[in-house]
Structures are given as structure tokens and as C-alpha cells.
Amino acid sequence: MNLTINGQAIEIDADPDMPLLWALRDIVGILGPKFGCGIAACGACTVLVGGTPVRSCSLPVGLVEGAVTTIEGLVKGGVLSPVQQAWLDEQVPQCGYCQSGQIMSAHALLEEIADPTNEEIDDAMGGNMCRCGTYPRIRAAIKKAAALKLAGK
């Protein structure tokens, strides 16, 4: 199977039924996407496929159509993406386990809506659970990232 992952063409030798998450983690060795539930209920495994956020734990690798972006693909030329920079500035993570999924969902949200309202943030991020309860800082960081992006940073 041939996939494009973070801009690189990669050949994967896996059962097409294997969820993309485990193909990435166990076969390719990309560990940013995390396992939280396996049933598309927590968002820890969120990656982008063709720019759309998907729960990689529930998507068979054989059905992947489009380029895959994981959190490892957000850093460009050693520079953090605006969402990551905002996350750092607002000191969002606690344990950090949910955060690559949170960042991927927020990244996709801001690609679609440059300056989301609170409701739009709630809608886009409701599928990403954080057991450490970092939600107030996630809200602040999304607003900050939106501002950074609009300022062209």
C-alpha cells in the first residue's frame, strides 16, 4: 500500500483492515497520534486525511484516500505552526496525551473558519476529550492561534 504521510511517499505492508492509527504507530513508527478509545469517541488519534480531521483508530488503512498529515507534519522548517505556537504560549497541555489530537482538530478548524466563534469552537472540538480538563486554555489558545494566523505569523 502506498500512502503519502507528512509529504513523504511511504510504502506500508499491512492488512488493509488495520486501522490507520496502528499502521502509523506500529508499522511506520509515527507516534504523535495517540490511542485513547478505539471507537472514535475521544479524538486522541485525530489526523488529517486530505485536510479533513479523521479519527485514525476507526479508519481502515486500506480506505485512506488522500494525503495523511499527523502532528509531526505541522512543524515546517523547524517552525511551529500557529496553533502549536499558541498552545505553547497559553501553556495548554497538562499530561499532554490528548493534545496532538486537540491540535489537529484546532488546526483543521482554523483552516476552515479563520475566526471561529465560541459555538464554532465547541462544535469542532467536542469530539476531543481531555481528562485533564484543559478546555479553558484550549479556547484561549484557539483564539490566539486565529489572531496569529490573521496577522500572517
Partner: protein
């Protein structure tokens, strides 16, 4: 340490024997190194020097600080590093922070102190002696542990002393090298400077010599006014890794030639499966081996495969007759055992002021109120499921795991496969949450699996379903509360009975089954017996009630249910006695200025008492737990979609606020954790098996339900309190009080979602 010696010491010391107390705790600088050898001596590079178990400096001026408490999101690695950095005169950015090896040198003294059955504000001789005695248990047993919101407090003196001692030795060595007196030198940015001659030496340049300088016998630590780092929010040292998805967690361990695995444990606790058919599971492509797991934690199977997905699928296909439970098998049976215990179980009074029996004997019926409260079992559901990686090779065991109790992990995981503790090495990874869950089961299972494929590492990740069903649950509990009100409406007597399993006894069963439990379990009456309320006749009794189900430490432990019982019943008393809920507390806690200050602060922040719009209500709760005094107000609103939690105000007196940014995050986090539970979480049983399995039936608060927060940090009390758990209890109780006020009907059982929907 051999088992028999461990047992002897445990027995002896837990009795608070006079000999132990007389032995006392060593004071002065040597307290940080004795009685254990410095574990950093081993594995030191040639051009590296170590000064004590916490500081290592290389000739190239790389400075490594050991933060020997597990990073589970509470920011502890940053705080502990800041203690050393403050006294060492080094900016945080110049430090490398490591967890360090599992070692008894890193024992946790405060955690053991707080196992003593005395309230936090009791500075009396007996209470201090008992705390000291329990502290020495940590020294003797060498238990390295992260828990009980103790890490910051435990590290406060030790880590600062470690930094100060190292700085002293570096300056001495530099003075000798420069041929000047130490008093002419100052330090800055990891450099020793001689202003008079303009010469300077980096720490690295003198490190090897400095390590040979005799450590000072006494030290003066910086005055608070001179702190540069402490008391101010720091950039956390683990943030960059966490915003870039770096592989820092237990699930991220990747080793050459590694196999992957998972476990399938008997859903009927403690029992061996009667029979099993593994053929379907073994036929799954990629499965390498399925091994029986027979441990004190439970019985089941470990599946080893070429990838995690194959292991997950195979585990699902294991067929077995799991047997029948020998404990209350469903929720009705659990309720009955707890109700019977409350009605007639043998109780231990842990607080007994005045004469409660006499106070009720002549009470007129209309001055007495009584109510029962109850809470369900709860799972922790840390975001990172249980997991561990193990390698068994040449008679040695190596473990990589998000371990909260690394010394116990080494002892018990080794013992499970016949490897002595000295031949076990643990690498502690960051953990994707713990909230009290990370015990030793995941590493024991991984060790057994690793032994079956000797020479190849096995990374075993549990499915979420296993993680939920095989938790060490927050125990189900029941409380019966009775009050007599005086003519003025204030309570003259309060009698509280609480029935709940003993967490310590249950944990002993799965870790050291041959040791019998040690006296009354203080978690049973935690945050009930030790609250700063003066009521003339005041009795708190605990009834340890075994329910068979594994129970453990869940964020804030006994306070997670006792605060709900106590604070909601105080609201009932207030209502009956004609008091505003906050005014009632103020009257009862008038002798405790720290308590009054947080209550006044949170009332002011929340504009308590101002008229609210129709369909909106506020609830209040106070708790003294883990050494912090906390008041919270929750505001709720009725909406067509259900109850909306609009806002939470928190005021907390933590004594000394080391890092206000981290404290604010922890208090908020604790409150969200408590609100999640109070809103909708419960673990129920059927046929002795847990009915819930994943986030679809054991959910938690999401961003769209999350209220706004306002947090105030106070520093009035003279002792430092913990913050990792202190935000949780009041959030639960204040939400229940708010909903009671909103609906005009008392919430006495959790979760609230049983009766009411949340928006």
C-alpha cells in the same frame, strides 16, 4: 529488601512505636542524602560530577536535575526543577530535567506523614509526633511515590537544599582554583564570578573538583523576598514536547525487535477462569503467543503479537467460562451491603467531640434532621490507557512504564517472574494522566509476557474496554448524617456515619496479600473528621465495608465522596435553620481564619447573595483537603436542553504558592474532573462484571459543557498545601448544592444525570 524484612518493618512502624518516634527525622542538609546512597554515582560519565541525588553537572556545563516524581500533567517536573534552579542560581532554560532512576533515595515523606490520623491544622504534640513517625516509614521502606498531592511539598526543602549545597560546593571549588576567598565570589547563570579581578569559571569547569568538596553541614536557603523563579509562573519544561506530539508516553516506547501485546483479564474479579478456548484467538494473523496471567491483581491472558491491532482482535476472540463472583454481584446488592452497614455495621469513631448520644437523646423531633447520601463506583479513565513495556533477558528485567510507584513496580514485577529487585531496571515515562490509577498491574502483566518471549521486548497496551473494566475503582460509598439544631438554627450536634470499602486493605490484597491491613483506614473518613467546623457534639464514624470489587485512589480519594456528604448536608442544615449556606459555614468556622478568608474571597468573587435571574442558581462548598483550604461556587442555569454549568469560582489557600500558573491549572483541572463525575459518571455491576466499557457509556465533560473559571490563590496558612486533588471535592458538592437550589429538590445521590439532564 526481602519480603520478610519488609513485613516486619511495616508491622512495627505502623504502630507508631516509641522507638521510631525517638529516632526522628534527621535535620540539616544530610537529610537529603541519607540514609540512601546516591543512585547517580552509577552511570556517571567520566567528565560528569554529581553532588547529591538531585544534581549532576558535566564539564561542558550541562546541568541535569533529577525530578523524581512522575510527570502526569501536574507540572511537577517544572516545579521540582525550579526548586533546585532557584538555589543553584541557574535559569530554568539551562537545565535538563530527568525523572531519574527508581531509587529509595527519592522516598516521599509527606505522603506518609499524611497517612497519620490527625487533622491538618492540628499542630499538637501527638499529631506532630504521629506525622513524624509516618514520615519515617517512607524513609525506612524507601517508597518512591507520586500521589496525595504531596510532591511539591515533599520537594520544597529537599530540592532547595540540594541546589544550595551544590552551589556551595561549586563556589568553594572555584575559590580554591582562583585563589580567592569564597566570600568574594557570586554566582550567575551557571557561572562563578570574581568581580574584583573580572575572572569567572562556569559550573562545568569546576564541577569535578567541586564534587570532592565536603558538603556543608548546615545551609541557609534564600529568603522568599530573594526568589527569582519561585512564586512566579514558569514556562513548563515539558511543553514543547507536548505540543509537537513527541514520543514521551508509555505507549510510545519503541525498541528494536519489539513485540506488541494486550491483556484480557477475567471480568469476574480475583478468580481464575474455569476453562478457556484460545483457538480462535491464536488463529488471528500476527499472533505470536498467548500466555496465562496469574497474579495477585487478577487472572487472565496476555496476548503477544506482531502489532497491537492483531493483539486487540485476538483478545476479543478469547472464549472462557469466567466463573461466578463471590462478592455482591449487581448494583442492588452493593447498595444493600452498604445500607446494612450504615444501619448496623461496627463503626470506628475518628472524631468524637462532646457527647453526641446525649445530644440526640433529648432532642425534640422537629429539631432533628437526617439524610442518607450515596455515590457509585467510578473509573479513572486516564487518557492514556494502562500500558507497560518489558524486556526479560539474561535473568534481568527491564521495564519502561508510566509508573507512579517505581520502587514497588520493580519489587512486584520482578517477584512475579522470579527476578530479584536488584536485577530490575525501570525507566519512568511521562504518563497520560493518572488521577491515582497507575498501580503495578500493567507492569506485572508485561513482565510475565516478556518472560514468555525471552530476549524480545513486549509493549502491552490495554484496550479502553480493559482499562475501564479492570480499574481500581473509586469505591461506592454511603453516608448517613444526622443533626440536631439549636434554638438559633445552628447545629448543636452532628453525627456522621460513612460506609465504604477500605482502599488500603484492598490495595494490600493485590500488592502484598500476605500482610494484614493496618488499623483504621484514614481515607474512610478523610475530609469528614478533619474539617475546621466547631460543633459542640460532633462525631464522625467510619464503617469499613468490603464490596469485593477492586478499589483504589481516585483523585482526592475519600474527599471525593465525603465532601459531597458533608457539604450538601450542611446546606440542608442551613435551610432548616434559616441560614444562608455561606453564613452558616462562617459561623461554624469562626476560629479558623484561613478557612474564613477563602470563604469570604470566593463569596466576593462570585457576588454571592446578589439576586440571580429566573432559572439560575448558585451552590457553594468548602473543603480542607491535602493541606489546602478550598471554597468553590458553581452557577447553573436551566435551559431547554438541560442544566448548563455556567461558571465556577475557586478560592484556595495553598500556604505558599510556588507556581501560580500551575496551581491555577491544577485547581481547574481538578474541578473539571469532579464535575464530570458528578454530572454523569457511574460504574455499575451485573453478574459481578462491570457494565460500562468505553467513553460511549462512561463519558466525561467535553469542551462544549465546560464552564468559565475564575481562580484566586491565597497564602494565609503557614503550611504548604497540595493542589493536584484539592479542586475536585468542592466541585462535586457545590454542583450538587447548585442543582438542589435550582430545582428545589435535594440531590443526595450521584451522578445527577440519573434524574436530570445536562446541556
Amino acid at each position: 529488601m526481602t519480603m520478610s524484612r519488609l513485613r516486619k518493618i511495616t508491622r512495627r512502624v505502623f504502630l507508631i512505636g516509641a522507638a521510631t518516634v525517638a529516632g526522628g527525622v534527621a535535620v540539616g542538609y544530610w537529610y537529603v542524602t541519607r540514609p540512601y546512597a546516591n543512585p547517580l554515582e552509577e552511570g556517571l560519565a567520566e567528565d560528569e560530577a554529581t553532588f547529591n541525588p538531585y544534581v549532576k553537572i558535566g564539564s561542558d556545563n550541562t546541568i541535569t536535575v533529577i525530578a523524581p516524581r512522575a510527570e502526569m500533567g501536574q507540572g511537577i517536573s517544572t516545579t521540582l526543577a525550579a526548586f533546585v534552579a532557584e538555589e543553584l542560581d541557574v535559569p530554568l532554560e539551562l537545565l535538563t530535567v530527568e525523572h531519574g532512576p527508581a531509587s529509595s533515595a527519592y522516598y516521599n515523606e509527606i505522603m506518609m506523614e499524611e497517612s497519620a490520623p490527625f487533622p491538618w491544622w492540628d499542630d499538637g504534640v501527638l499529631a506532630s509526633l504521629a506525622r513524624g513517625a509516618f514520615g519515617t516509614v517512607a524513609t525506612v521502606l524507601g517508597i518512591q511515590a507520586t500521589g496525595g498531592s504531596t510532591s511539591t511539598r515533599d520537594g520544597f526543602d529537599r530540592m532547595r537544599q540540594a541546589g544550595a549545597a551544590a552551589r556551595h560546593m561549586l563556589v568553594e571549588a572555584a575559590a580554591k582554583r582562583l585563589g580567592v576567598s569564597a566570600s568574594e565570589l557570586r554566582t550567575k547563570n551557571a557561572t562563578v564570578v570574581h568581580d574584583a579581578s573580572g575572572r569567572s569559571l562556569t559550573y562545568g569547569e569546576v564541577a569535578l573538583d567541586a564534587a570532592k568538596v565536603k558538603p556543608p553541614s548546615t545551609l541557609r536557603l534564600k529568603d522568599r523576598a530573594d526568589w527569582k523563579l519561585l512564586g512566579k509562573p514558569q514556562k513548563r519544561v515539558d511543553m514543547l514536547a507536548k505540543v509537537t506530539g513527541a514520543p514521551i508516553f508509555g505507549v510510545d516506547v519503541l525498541l528494536p525487535d519489539m513485540l506488541f501485546g494486550t491483556v484480557k483479564m477475567n471480568p469476574v474479579y480475583w478468580q481464575k477462569p474455569r476453562s478457556a478456548d484460545l483457538s480462535k484467538a491464536e488463529a488471528v494473523k500476527g499472533v505470536v503467543k498467548i500466555v496465562p496471567l496469574e497474579t495477585t491483581y487478577g487472572h487472565g491472558f496476555g496476548v503477544i503479537a506482531e502489532n497491537t491491532w492483531a493483539a486487540f482482535r485476538a483478545a476479543e476472540l478469547i472464549e472462557a467460562d469466567w466463573g461466578t463472583p463471590d462478592y455482591p454481584a449487581d448494583t442492588a446488592a452493593v447498595d444493600k451491603v452498604l445500607s446494612d452497614a450504615i444501619a448496623s455495621g461496627a463503626a470506628t469513631a475518628m472524631r468524637d467531640d462532646g457527647n453526641v448520644n446525649a445530644a440526640f437523646a433529648d432532642a425534640p423531633q422537629d429539631r432533628v434532621i437526617e439524610a442518607d447520601y450515596s455515590v457509585p463506583f467510578l473509573a479513572h479513565t486516564c487518557m492514556e490507557p494502562q500500558c507497560a513495556t518489558a524486556l526479560f533477558k539474561d535473568g534481568r528485567l527491564e521495564i519502561w512504564a508510566p509508573a507512579q510507584l517505581p520502587t514497588l513496580v520493580e519489587y512486584l514485577s520482578g517477584a512475579a517472574i522470579g527476578v530479584e529487585m536488584k536485577d530490575v531496571t525501570t525507566h519512568t515515562t511521562s504518563m497520560g494522566g493518572s488521577f491515582g490509577r497507575r498501580e503495578v498491574d500493567a507492569t506485572i502483566y508485561a513482565a510475565i509476557m516478556a518472560k514468555a518471549v525471552e530476549g524480545r521486548p513486549v509493549k502491552a497496551i490495554w484496550t479502553r474496554e480493559e482499562d475501564v473494566r479492570h480499574d481500581t475503582f473509586r469505591p461506592a460509598a454511603r453516608g448517613r448524617l444526622r443533626a440536631r439544631l439549636g434554638e438559633d438554627g445552628l447545629p448543636t450536634a452532628l453525627d456522621i456515619r460513612v460506609a465504604v470499602p477500605s482502599i488500603f486493605a484492598n490495595m494490600m490484597r493485590r500488592t502484598f496479600p500476605s500482610i494484614s491491613p493496618l488499623g483504621a483506614d484514614v481515607t474512610v473518613t478523610q475530609a469528614l473528621r478533619d474539617q475546621p467546623y466547631a460543633i459542640p457534639n460532633y462525631r464522625v464514624s467510619g464503617i469499613e465495608t468490603d464490596l469485593g470489587v477492586p478499589v483504589g485512589f481516585w483523585r482526592s480519594v475519600g474527599a471525593s465522596f465525603n465532601c459531597f456528604f458533608h457539604e450538601c448536608f450542611l446546606d440542608e442544615i442551613a435551610q432548616q435553620g434559616g441560614f444562608d449556606p455561606i453564613e452558616l459555614r462562617r459561623r461554624l468556622m469562626k476560629d479558623f481564619p484561613a478557612a474564613l478568608a477563602v470563604v469570604d474571597k470566593v463569596a466576593e468573587m462570585a457576588r454571592w447573595g446578589e439576586k440571580l435571574p429566573q432559572g439560575t442558581a448558585k451552590g457553594f462548598a468548602f473543603s480542607l483537603c491535602f493541606g489546602s483550604w478550598v471554597g468553590e461556587v458553581v452557577q447553573v442555569k436551566d435551559t431547554p436542553a438541560g442544566i448548563r454549568i455556567e461558571k465556577v469560582w475557586i478560592a484556595a489557600d495553598v500556604g505558599t504558592a510556588i507556581d501560580p500558573g500551575i496551581i491555577e491549572a491544577q485547581l481547574t483541572s481538578g474541578a473539571v474532573y469532579g464535575l464530570s463525575a458528578a454530572m454523569g459518571q457511574e460504574i455499575t455491576l451485573s453478574g459481578g462484571q462491570v457494565e460500562q466499557s468505553n467513553f460511549h457509556d462512561f463519558d466525561a465533560m467535553r469542551i462544549n459543557q465546560c464552564p468559565d473559571f475564575e481562580v484566586a490563590i491565597l497564602e494565609n496558612h503557614h503550611k504548604m498545601g497540595g493542589v493536584g486533588e484539592s479542586g475536585t471535592p468542592c466541585a462535586i458538592a457545590a454542583l450538587a448544592n447548585a442543582v438542589s437550589a435550582l430545582k428545589g429538590e435535594r440531590i443526595r445521590a450521584l451522578p445527577i444525570s440519573k434524574d436530570l439532564a445536562f446541556a
